[in-house]
């Protein structure tokens, strides 16, 4: 969370101030790594812009001890390229810390590099649990929650709505497969039934065959583990083939693109995302205002706020202990009850942000609305009946 005066400073002529106060201070380099090209580049660009925004604001603030420079690198969402750019950043001693990775496979491939070179990083978007839990690297932190928390809540919530019969579609990337795994687990715990599971490739266009099968199974809910592009296609084709069921997605479809892509069809889609509902937090509104003020080409997308939070977390640590990788690392490790635009951040013993709450979202009138304040919760509108 940003101190008030800084906010005012930022609101007025952020950039000029940045220019003015520059020179004087010692420069500190941060790195952002994410997919800036290829299929999921939308999220990567959103994250980069958010990080860039955080840096700009920080530099604009009079309080800042250092002048921060952002080096952003493209991992193309390919593990081998990821290792390449991670090495580039980690081997560059002038870079103190990083805000890294949206694609889980890439994060999996790069954690070793960060550990080997002792570069403290904060993962801002990749959701695979193993990234933090399959190793014990003091360098690797994560502000966004894992798919575990997400699906735990999702399963409990949905069964709470008296739904019993699911069909699961997931893309065959680690993201989709992971979600399928954990959701199935928790759904079983909560007594929901899965009638059929369908893995599909991430670049698939036509789902009529799968959906025809699903239609036969007559599920009450179609659970989709995957990202926006596929989500849009599947939801559209459900309608085309007359599959009448609730569409329950994951954090992957929590994006403006999802709603833009579907138009009215998006109404009533459910999704879950770690972190407090942004609009609820004072910082959240501020973030969105500032982001829009910068006139970036691309929206922040679901994880922009996390990148923003991660960047600020890192910079606060540096402000506190100075631009030294070791010190910054242990400072980050110590993070407790840190107030950010995505809510309180507290790292567990695996430096995983034990996200206290999962936000339940539903599309209402072309917006992602927090479930509790939606007409659906109030009973004014109905999802497809169980």
């Amino acid at each position: 969370m940003l101190p008030r005066p800084l906010r005012h400073a930022a609101l007025c002529c952020a950039l000029m101030l940045a220019a003015g106060t520059a020179g004087a201070k010692e420069a500190v380099k941060l790195v952002f790594i994410g997919p800036l090209t290829g299929g999921v580049s939308a999220n990567g660009l959103g994250g980069r812009n958010a990080t860039d925004l955080a840096v700009k604001l920080r530099n604009a603030g009079p309080k800042a001890k250092y002048r921060y420079e952002l080096v952003s690198l493209d991992d193309e969402c390919k593990p081998n390229i990821g290792v390449q750019v991670a090495t580039k950043a980690a081997a560059d001693r002038s870079i103190v810390a990083g805000v890294t990775h949206y694609c889980s496979t890439v994060a999996m491939a790069t954690v070793d590099v960060y550990h080997k070179f002792g570069l403290p990083v904060v993962v801002w978007g990749a959701v695979l649990p193993d990234i933090t839990y399959a190793n014990d690297y003091a360098e690797v932190h994560r502000v966004n929650g894992t798919m575990i928390n997400q699906n735990d809540t999702a399963a409990e919530f949905m069964t709470g709505l008296k739904y019993k019969r699911w069909a699961v579609i997931h893309d065959t990337t680690d993201y989709g497969k992971g979600h399928n795994k954990y959701f199935s687990e928790y759904l079983a715990k909560n007594g929901g039934r899965i009638l059929g599971t369908f893995g599909v490739t991430a670049d698939q266009q036509d789902f009529s065959a799968e959906l025809t099968k699903i239609k036969e199974l007559k599920p009450e809910v179609v659970y989709f583990g995957g990202t926006t592009p596929l989500g849009v296609r599947i939801r559209t084709q459900m309608d085309k083939l007359g599959v009448k069921a609730v569409f329950q997605g994951t954090s992957g479809i929590v994006s403006d693109a999802y709603i833009e892509g579907l138009g009215p069809l998006a109404e009533g889609s459910l999704a879950f995302r770690e972190g407090a509902p942004m609009e609820k937090l004072p910082g959240g509104k501020f973030f969105l205002e500032q982001y829009n003020a910068q006139k970036y080409n691309d929206p922040p997308e679901a994880y922009g706020a996390f990148a923003f939070a991660a960047a600020n977390l890192v910079m606060d640590a540096i402000e506190k202990v100075g631009p030294d990788r070791r010190k910054v690392r242990s400072e980050l490790n110590r993070t407790r009850d840190y107030q950010s635009v995505v809510g309180t951040i507290t790292f567990d013993d695996h430096r995983q942000n034990a996200v206290p709450l999962i936000t339940k979202l539903v599309v209402q009138d072309g917006k992602w609305i927090v479930w509790e304040d939606s007409d659906y919760a109030k009973g004014k509108r109905k999802l497809v009946k169980p």
């Binding site: 593990p79 081997a91 491939a109 065959t172």
Partner: protein, 388 residues
């Protein structure tokens, strides 16, 4: 006349050229600022044009033709010097090793496509076979890693032989489709099927040889710490040198002649007794073996394999390297590899616009230099061959 040479051309121009190339490579890898990169790129273009226009190129070329052995050693030495200069720079070494290993793979494609004319759009897949072999064997067996690398190559060759039958029956675009199909099939299968880590991929242990672990930095005295990538860079360099010698000798022998005959005119070749199938199989398998070996080392270096790294897009990159470099010319292929691997990296500054520019660049090359950067020359069976 006799195939031996009577008056030997001077060597020094060639040595100077080698030195120039080496120092260029050094500067280019060092370059960070946009203007530096731009300047160096421009310089390279100019140099190429000059070489093309003036006799300089011919002089250097004839020197290489006449007395390759000393020059080859010189080149190897120069490469080692460059590597040594980066001894502490992890990233530069990683890039160098990457270039070298991709180079090995592309030499494999050169044998297949450049000589035998068997186009292969699943090069990355065979690269991947090597990588996955390394991942599995190095994790679950105590096999010495040199052997693991070898097995990676062999397996790539073996899996390649699955495609041999359809490849032999088809030609041109029909053959191309088979490899395209295989590339897609391979990646999708790895992703859907969890036995090999699925989309998450597998971790690969670092290489160890004779008790020497490649993944530890090398301490010289107390304060100097050399990058652990140094070991990989040197190993890859030796690997590449080996592959280069192999390809050269292959081309400068009856084998090379046979492959050319089969590529240029299958019908005529069969009328003159060539066993077309035999030669195609030889080239295809040999090529895949090289790709597999390179893939195995690469996987151990990056410590990770995942289907996403072995898509058809990657295969197409390999093919474009071979064509850019000059089909059938190993040296050209190496130059192109360096270009294709390093340039996008150097273009990181322009972020999301990289590929747009890169593809534009390739288009220009194809339009204005269709035979590639360094077109292949006539076969020289022996040093100093063919001077009447």
């Amino acid at each position: 006349m006799n195939a031996r040479v009577t008056q030997r051309p001077a060597l020094w121009p060639a040595f100077v050229a080698t030195a120039a190339v080496a120092s260029f490579a050094y500067l280019f890898l060092r370059a960070e600022a946009q203007w530096e990169v731009a300047a160096l790129a421009a310089g390279a273009v100019v140099a190429l044009l000059v070489l093309g226009r003036t006799r300089l190129g011919a002089v250097v070329g004839s020197a290489w033709g006449a007395r390759p052995t000393p020059l080859a050693w010189g080149a190897l030495l120069a490469a080692l010097v460059v590597v040594a200069l980066f001894a502490e720079d992890h990233f530069a070494l990683l890039m160098i090793a990457t270039v070298l290993l991709y180079g090995v793979a592309c030499l494999g494609l050169t044998i297949q496509f450049g000589y035998a004319g068997v186009v292969n759009f699943s090069g990355a897949a065979f690269f991947g076979v090597g990588g996955y072999t390394a991942a599995v064997l190095a994790t679950h067996t105590a096999l010495p890693h040199l052997l693991v690398v070898a097995v990676g190559g062999v397996l790539a060759g073996a899996i390649g032989s699955l495609l041999v039958l359809p490849l032999l029956r088809t030609r041109g675009h029909y053959a191309a489709l088979i490899t395209v199909a295989f590339a897609i099939l391979f990646k999708t299968f790895l992703e859907v099927n969890d036995t090999l880590g699925g989309p998450q991929g597998l971790k690969v242990p670092g290489m160890r040889m004779l008790g020497w672990s490649f993944n530890d930095n090398i301490l010289v005295g107390e304060d100097v710490e050399l990058s652990f990538y140094l070991s990989y860079a040197v190993f890859s360099l030796l690997l590449l040198a080996g592959a280069l010698v192999l390809v050269r000798r292959l081309e400068r022998s009856w084998l090379g002649l046979s492959l050319d005959a089969v590529r240029i005119d299958e019908t005529a070749a069969s009328v003159f007794g060539f066993e077309v199938a035999r030669w195609k199989i030889l080239a295809f398998t040999l090529g895949n073996v090289l790709a597999g070996v390179a893939g195995a080392v690469y996987a151990m270096m990056t410590g990770f394999v995942a289907p996403a790294s072995f898509t058809i897009a990657e295969s197409l990159i390999l093919v474009s390297i071979v064509i850019l470099g000059g089909v059938g010319n190993p040296v050209g292929v190496l130059a192109a590899t360096a270009l294709v691997v390093v340039l996008p990296e150097k273009l990181q500054v322009i972020q999301e616009y990289r590929f747009l520019l890169f593809s534009g660049f390739v288009i220009l090359v194809l339009l204005f230099r269709p035979e590639g950067l360094l077109p292949r020359k006539l076969r020289q069976y022996l040093p100093g061959w063919g001077r009447a």
